[in-house]
């Protein structure tokens, strides 16, 4: 899957879980500059992504992601 498609799908997931349809993520987005995204909503986000991408993340794979870009790369890696 292309990186850009992953980003779009992540964006949709965030928009759904954080109940904010106008949300736009970039590769540089981080937890501190996205409204509603905190260590708790993060969990629902991760689990929704797990269902959507059909994979399991381990807690620390998430921790190692510093921004959305890292998350995209991690997902892309796990898909291959």
């Amino acid at each position: 899957m292309e990186s850009i498609e992953i980003l779009n799908r992540i964006n949709n997931i965030f928009a759904l879980v954080l109940e904010n349809q106008r949300l736009t993520l970039t590769r540089e987005s981080v937890i501190t500059n996205v409204e509603g995204w905190d260590s708790f909503t993060n969990i629902k986000l991760i689990l929704t992504m797990e269902k959507q991408f059909q994979m399991n993340f381990n807690t620390f794979e998430i921790q190692a992601c510093r921004n959305i870009g890292d998350l995209c790369d991690t997902i892309q890696r796990k898909l291959t």
Binding site: D38, K44, L47, T59, Q63
Partner: protein
């Protein structure tokens, strides 16, 4: 060796000078020797504990890494490490408390007078245990390779600026710094930053914390004689005491490390300006809350979130909220217990847990900034009542007095009357600085000024205030007891 002793003020520069004179290859040895010396100044017997803990974690990490592919074996070594680390902590810190508890409840354990049950917990054990566990977990989760050099690992565990009361560092953040040659070069900016932090730390400790403690201690040692108004004054003063004592200690710790080029995570970010309890825990004892979030809250949340698949529980509770509730309750129960072997700490922890759960359930956003800050502060104050009290009964007496019997403000006589006035003066100066940094950060700065003379004058002014207003007999840092 406490930080606010002449001993430390001589020890630190000596170590820093030797650090830069020592060739990079041998610096770990110098720092380890200095750290062990620092630790032995407390009590030689404690060394056994820290060395044992170091060895256990060193070998656990290596064994975990060696069995990377075998999930079962990996887990076994992790569990062994956890059991030994936490077991030691429980044994040395909580055994007496647990024994008392069971004795009163069931009358089954030996009488509470057996000295074996009241071993003195080695200083810093709560801190270096958690710091070591970040290392073990990080190795388990493949976030880093184990540290093969036993000396460097031992240094990570015992690093003297952090050993007493943190900040609790992350192995992925601190450990690599001991091998970083570039970082270890002498830079005048590091020295200036370090000294700036240390000066501010001493101000918080000697001018604010040590003065406030006198009034607070005298009120709390005589709980039956005071009215609600006195308790409110005392608990407000206590909120500043515990903040300035701990933040002051942390500043000195971080500054000391910075003198040698090490970057240590900040522990406080003006917590009483928080607009919610949620925000409070991103500003108070940041290293601990980070640890709890990474190693307790998040794993618990993932676990329960996966398990709780129903749409609604008890007809109205969504699975996210229930997960949050369970994970938060357990995390803050542990947080309370970590602070000490007393039910008061447990209640304090649980209160904060409840605050967070209610906050999440209501999920109100916005509102007036000042009102939010005041409400959050009041919630925190209420919880501090338990944290400071000797026992639950005392807390209840205080709360009852606040609600039913205001009385009049207690003013101590003779020399003790002076202390709270100095305390208020110190708090006022501290608030001036913190309000400026919080709300007017982009405007003209003294200590962050481009002109080095203005900067130095500001540091000099703080030193003058410390010498003019500070307390100069050795007193403990409060968090050292943990």
């Amino acid at each position: 060796m406490y930080f606010n002793t002449t001993q430390y003020i001589l020890f630190l520069p000596l170590v820093v000078i030797l650090f830069y004179l020592t060739p990079f290859r041998f610096r770990w040895f110098l720092l380890l020797a200095a750290s062990y010396y620092f630790y032995v100044c407390w009590r030689a017997e404690f060394m056994v504990v820290i060395i044992f803990s170091t060895m256990v974690n060193y070998f656990s990490a290596i064994l975990i890494a060696r069995n990377k592919q075998d999930k079962r074996k990996k887990k076994i070594f992790l569990v062994i490490a956890l059991v030994i680390n936490l077991g030691m902590l429980i044994l040395l810190k909580y055994l007496g408390f647990i024994n008392d508890f069971f004795h009163e409840l069931f009358n089954i354990t030996p009488a509470p007078t057996s000295p074996l049950l009241y071993l003195i917990a080695p200083v810093g054990i709560s801190y270096f245990t958690l710091q070591s566990l970040t290392y073990v977990f990080d190795t388990y989760y493949n976030l880093r390779e184990p540290e093969k050099h036993p000396g460097i690992f031992a240094l990570y565990v015992a690093f003297f600026p952090l050993i007493l009361s943190g900040p609790i560092e992350q192995s992925t953040h601190l450990l690599p710094q001991f091998r970083d040659r570039e970082r270890a070069k002498l830079k005048s900016s590091n020295i200036e930053e370090g000294i700036k932090l240390i000066i501010w730390g001493y101000f918080l400790k000697l001018v604010v914390a040590d003065r406030t403690s006198i009034y607070v201690d005298s009120v709390f040692s005589n709980v039956d004689r005071h009215g609600g108004i006195t308790f409110i004054a005392a608990i407000i003063l206590y909120s500043f005491q515990i903040y300035s004592d701990f933040a002051g200690y942390s500043c000195i710790a971080i500054g000391s490390a910075r003198l040698m080029g090490f970057d240590v995570l900040h522990n406080f970010n003006r917590p009483y300006f928080s607009q919610s309890i949620r925000e409070f825990w991103t500003r108070w004892h940041i290293s601990l809350s980070t640890w709890l979030r990474n190693y307790l809250f998040s794993p618990l949340s993932y676990y329960f979130m996966r398990k709780l698949q129903k749409e609604r529980y008890l007809k109205i509770i969504r699975p996210e909220l229930l997960t949050y509730g369970i994970a938060t309750s357990i995390t803050f129960l542990m947080c309370g217990i970590w602070h000490g072997a007393n039910f008061t700490f447990i209640i304090w922890g649980i209160l904060h847990g409840i605050y967070l759960i209610v906050d999440r359930a209501i999920n109100k956003k916005g509102g007036n900034k000042v009102v939010n800050i005041i409400i959050t502060y009041i919630l925190v104050l209420f919880a501090w009542i338990f944290f400071r009290s000797e026992n639950v009964h005392q807390s209840m007496t205080i709360i009852k007095a606040i609600l039913t019997h205001p009385g009049s403000l207690y003013i101590p006589f003779d020399s003790d009357v002076v202390a709270p006035v100095y305390a208020v003066l110190g708090i006022f100066i501290m608030l001036l600085v913190e309000v400026k940094r919080e709300f007017f950060n982009s405007s003209f700065s003294l200590s962050g000024n481009k002109n080095e003379y203005i900067r130095m004058a500001s540091y000099g002014l703080i030193i003058f205030l410390i010498l003019y207003l500070g307390v100069f007999d050795a007193s403990q840092f409060m968090y050292v007891k943990f």
